[in-house]
């Protein structure tokens, strides 16, 4: 920090390094525990002392995707030999895969919830970022009466507690049949992310020099052409970062999904806790579901790392 590095300064630095490492380990411990539990055999998930070293297996993921029931009698050697490798993993855990009358493997609720999450998050992101980009350009380039008030209005719609908005939305959706549909959630998430996307994109738009478009206008471009051919390519990074933020928000959302969906359009966040239900939960399966669900966000966080500050402060604070 200071220009003169004294020996106290150096030892303080060493202390800080040790401190940061310890804090990082503590902060990552729960995430590590999710990841490791997802690869444990069931009997090692809840041991005392906790099992840290083990032979990883993927049976939790097989169980995550299939419908299972308890084995009453052990499978015969022929049954066991005839079963595919992944089904044997389920046999080993004392369960069997449920099959339909025609012998088709029954899927668990997880894959469809995961798909619902993808559909809802991707569609609402495209809508929110699409509309948000246009609106942000409008706010950035044109004089608007009461601009600050309008921007405040746009932001305040995001600050409302989900349950407050959900009560009337539930009644309105029920009246028009949007409850438990993808579109119902997509509309809610679009509205929720739209305000964010306007605020964030406005920051990115403000950074693109006006002179670029003015030069294009002089060259005979229309304003629309200038927007599509000059501004949008310049804003590409900002659009991508905004889209990832919107995706993560929609992907993670719980309260609206809990209230507005129950089966057909249910996303993963309300589904994963509902698996705990009654009896002794199989934490390896929950961990496997959690792990798969968190993975995209973890990857996105690394891709976004240089935009996190900006995104989390609604574009107000930049480095």
């Amino acid at each position: 920090m200071a220009a003169v590095t004294t020996s106290t300064e150096r030892s303080l630095n060493k202390l800080a390094i040790v401190g940061v490492l310890i804090v990082t380990m503590i902060f990552l411990a729960p995430i590590y525990w999710i990841a490791s539990t997802a690869f444990k055999p069931r009997n090692l998930a809840t041991t005392i002392p906790p099992t840290v070293v083990f032979q990883p297996e993927i049976s939790p993921f097989v169980k995550l995707f299939t419908k299972r029931s308890q084995l009453r009698t052990a499978p015969t050697p022929e049954q066991y030999a005839a079963a595919p490798w992944w089904e044997r993993l389920v046999f080993d855990g004392g369960e069997k895969v449920v099959r339909s009358g025609r012998g088709e493997v029954q899927w668990s609720g997880y894959p469809s919830r995961f798909m619902n999450s993808l559909i809802v998050a991707i569609t609402s992101t495209i809508l929110a970022v699409g509309m948000g980009t246009f609106t942000a350009y409008g706010f950035s380039r044109f004089k608007i009466k009461g601009e600050q008030d309008l921007l405040f209005f746009i932001l305040s719609t995001r600050m409302l507690p989900p349950v407050v908005v959900a009560i009337p939305m539930f009644l309105m959706y029920r009246a028009v049949g949007l409850n438990d549909t993808h579109w119902g959630l997509i509309i809610l998430y679009t509205a929720f992310n739209l305000s964010f996307s306007v605020w964030l994109m406005k920051g990115f738009m403000d950074e693109i020099p006006k002179e670029y478009e003015e030069a294009a206008l002089v060259d005979g471009y229309t304003r629309m052409e200038a927007f599509f051919k000059i501004v949008l390519p310049e804003a590409a990074t900002g659009i991508a970062a905004t889209a990832v933020f919107c995706f993560i928000t929609a992907w993670n959302e719980y309260a609206f999904a809990l209230i507005m969906t129950n089966r057909r359009a249910q996303t993963a966040p309300p589904f994963i806790p509902s698996q705990v239900g009654s009896g002794l939960p199989d934490w390896t399966v929950i961990a496997a579901g959690t792990f798969l669900f968190l993975l995209p966000v973890a990857i996105f966080t690394f891709l976004l790392r240089n935009h996190l500050l900006r995104g989390m402060s609604f574009g107000a604070i930049r480095k």
């Binding site: 409008g138 305040s156 009560i167 009644l171 206008l217 229309t222 719980y254 966000v297 609604f314």
Partner: protein
Amino acid sequence: MATAVMTTLDPKSRSAARGMSDLTIRNLFIIPTIVFLIVFNIFPLIYSLGYSFTDFRASSPAAANFVGLQNYRELLNDPFIWSNFAITAKYVIVSVVGQVIVGFGVALLLNRDIPLKGLLTTLLLLPMMLSMAVVGLFWKLLYDPSFGIINYTLGLGSFEWLSNPDMALYAVAITDIWMWSPFVMLLSLAGLSAVPKHLYEAAAIDRAGSFYTFFRITLPLVAPILMIAIIFRTMEAFKTFDLAYILTSQPTTEVISIRLYKMAFQEWQTGRSCALAYIVLIMILAITNIYVKYLNKVKER
């Protein structure tokens, strides 16, 4: 006006003659968003304002009766509702104070010459990006009295966290602190890195103690950004629903959002819950107003 700017640029240019005028484009770009937000955010609120003056129950086919201000009067005189607000206030204080201490503390540690600083910072930021509901659920396993790693690591035996009425709210707050300290850390780091280096150098030349340097240079300069973090986290903690709802079902963790959820979707007191929603809404708008003022202040710097 922007149109005026264009006319002065080149009144006879093709761009002015052909294509849409700037005014049309401005309206085309902005109005759909405003309309969308009005239809899906403001209209529902007007709708629920109407219901807040009725005894409507969404579970029964009976028509709503106008009851005037009765819902509001009863809610504001209901000691249970006030206790929900008190629980919420306690939760806000514990979790926000915890986040500021941990987040700002870690930021101070990170604001030095640390190898792999970028990687460590990103790793530390991971918790806040994850789904509260899904990760929160997993903390149930971590808090488990008999085989949770928290009790094991801290040597607490079979200490009850979530099923203990006195401890449950703190347990939820600890999870919230784990998730959101990174947010305070992120903003603090931005504030710390913006402090001009020459101030520290001048203080070092003046042989100022580190205590003095911290309170007279670091803290005042980071304060505005830290304030944004605090207001934002206060607002979010006030709205909290996911974590407390998933982790416990103790009456001592029934924050206002959970009460509202139960009133609306379990007891089906729709009219009354609309009134409570309005009371909460007014509080949130007040905090949002302060937040936006601070945001604009920091932006102008």
